[in-house]
């Protein structure tokens, strides 16, 4: 039996929650330091940190379109993701609903979806450039096409998994199709839709970096490419961390949002 008092118990629990990640992070930085010691072109963790402090001391400077602060680049990427992802949600979620609700549309669209879903998002870039003629909408198009699949598939799965009991209630009460959708299907499917949204935004954020490297302009992906041309490796490493942290934040944000809609978890 533990003889610790409650506050000591809590301190122990907190320590157990914090210590392992710190050890992991420490080992990671140690490994990095060892690599940079043997490979002179890779900056040390210390040098990278100094560079990061300098970079983030003025993230929003603007010296013309080819030299803007990292803050502007991040915002530009986020904006592209928001537009492409938003359009995908606007089309993908209703489409998923229709596919889940009506067998006919499922049978009609399933082969196309299965065929197109495994295609690398970047393979769509030339088509986007060809049709849209410009780099900016082409990048958004790539985000759109890569983030629409998880939303269609998860929404459709959610609709087909609505508990039969609820549908029986709908039949017994003679609910109209409109009420079935608004009162039963939408709320019952929402947790699945949120899963789709979370997966989609993860994919979108993954893809934007690569897409921007190819399309150029302003954005975190192009910024990395630019720093590669400048041979500023410290900046590239910083960018990797920035992309990782923003991706993590988006994930956490949407997980929290999803929890609010999950009625089974209450």
């Amino acid at each position: 039996m533990s003889t610790l008092n409650p506050s000591a118990e809590r301190a122990k629990a907190i320590a157990l929650g914090i210590v392992p990640p710190i050890i992991g992070l420490g080992l990671f930085i140690l490994l990095w330091a060892l690599v940079s010691a043997s490979t002179p072109t890779i900056p040390t963790p210390g040098a990278t940190f100094v560079s990061a402090v300098e970079l983030f001391s003025d993230p929003f400077y603007n010296k013309g379109p080819n030299d803007m602060g990292i803050g502007w680049n991040i915002l530009a990427s986020l904006e592209r993701v928001a537009i492409g992802f938003g359009l995908a949600a606007l089309i993908g979620i209703p489409l998923g609903f229709i596919i889940g609700r009506f067998r006919f549309f499922n049978d009609m669209l399933a082969p196309i979806i299965s065929l197109l879903r495994p295609v690398s998002p970047l393979a769509w870039l030339p088509i986007g450039l060809l049709v849209l003629q410009k780099a900016e909408p082409a990048a958004i198009w790539v985000i759109f096409i890569s983030s629409i699949w998880p939303m269609i598939i998860n929404t459709a799965a959610g609709v087909t998994r609505v508990p039969q009991d609820y549908m029986t209630v709908a039949r017994v009460l003679n609910l109209s199709e409109w009420k079935i959708v608004t009162r039963i299907l939408l709320p019952a499917t929402l947790p699945y839709v949120m899963t789709g949204v979370r997966l989609a935004i993860g994919v979108a954020w993954l893809v934007i970096v690569a897409a921007e490297m190819l399309t150029g302009g302003i954005g975190i992906g192009f910024w990395i490419w630019d720093e590669w041309n400048n041979l500023d490796v410290a900046h590239i490493i910083i960018a990797i961390f920035v992309v990782g942290i923003i991706g993590l934040l988006l994930e956490v944000l949407l997980t929290q949002l999803a929890k609010r809609f999950d009625y089974d978890a209450r």
């Binding site: 029986t168 209630v169 017994v172 009460l173 003679n174 609910l175 009162r183 039963i184 009625y263 209450r266």
Partner: protein, 263 residues
């Protein structure tokens, strides 16, 4: 004589992968207005199928089903169903769950305030006014079942169809809800069909008990008239000779005449 709910030569056949399965045959059942009828039988005897046919959730493959002189075609709000697993929508409060049913029946003829009053009155009938703004996930199983009953009653149905309504509850809660159901039925003069596998419940609540033979191709075996005066008190009835006689009749049917080897 025309019955309120009338089943004549009703048969039900399901088409399964292994070929046709005859669940019910030649079911004749005439239920009067205001009557409380229980359907009892071993599991798999098709008693829930009978209820689903009356509810309109299934289409009979033979015979005719009438409710108030009209043929039963599909589900309708004139036949309210209380499900064993309550089937409340977890994202709506108790009031909203009841209101959903009320709007379906009275949406065209009444104002929103009138319908809200109906919903609240139904919740009061099952003594749940204090929980009206709670979500189903926040209340107990017995309370959920009472919301389910309130939802059904609020529709002012011609018939109340209950599919093992108290089967998932503990014995004490079940007894409490049976008593409540009796007083509600006395107050509203409801016509009730209840599926059950509980002999005491059937005898205590019913005017008639329909005993089903074992499936496949199950049918009505015997019908027992329970001629006990109302209001019925479970404590007094425990020592009542007539009550125990009826109980014995049902038990005899179930365990001697139509004994089912363990499934």
């Amino acid at each position: 004589m025309n019955a309120y709910i009338q089943l004549d030569n009703v048969g039900m056949q399901f088409n399964t992968k292994r070929g046709p399965f005859i669940a019910l045959r030649d079911v004749d059942l005439h239920i009067q207005k205001g009557e409380f009828v229980s359907i009892i039988g071993h599991s798999g005897c098709g008693k829930s199928t009978v209820l689903n046919l009356v509810a309109g959730l299934l289409d009979a493959t033979a015979g005719t089903l009438l409710c108030a002189g009209r043929e039963i075609k599909g589900p309708g709000p004139d036949r309210a169903v209380v499900f064993q697993n309550h089937s409340l929508l977890p994202w709506l409060t108790c009031t909203e769950n009841v209101l959903l049913a009320v709007e379906q029946v009275f949406g065209k003829s009444e104002s929103k305030t009138q319908m809200l009053e109906r919903a609240l009155a139904a919740l009061e009938l099952v003594h749940l006014t204090h929980a009206k703004d709670k979500l189903p996930g926040e209340i107990s199983g017995g309370m959920k079942q009472r919301v389910g009953i309130a939802r059904a009653l609020a529709m002012e149905p011609k018939a109340l169809l209950m599919d093992e309504p108290f089967g998932a509850l503990d014995a004490l809660t079940r007894a409490h809800l049976q008593d409540e159901l009796m007083s509600i039925c006395a107050a509203t003069q409801s016509t009730v069909i209840m599926v059950t596998h509980d002999v005491d419940e059937a005898v205590l609540l019913s005017d008639r008990i329909v005993m089903m033979t074992n499936g496949p191709s199950a049918t009505v075996g015997e019908i027992l008239h329970v001629d006990l005066p109302r209001p019925r008190e479970r404590l007094q009835l425990a020592d009542d000779a007539a009550y125990n006689h009826y109980r014995h009749e049902v038990l005899t049917f179930l365990y001697e005449k139509h004994h089912k080897t363990a499934a």
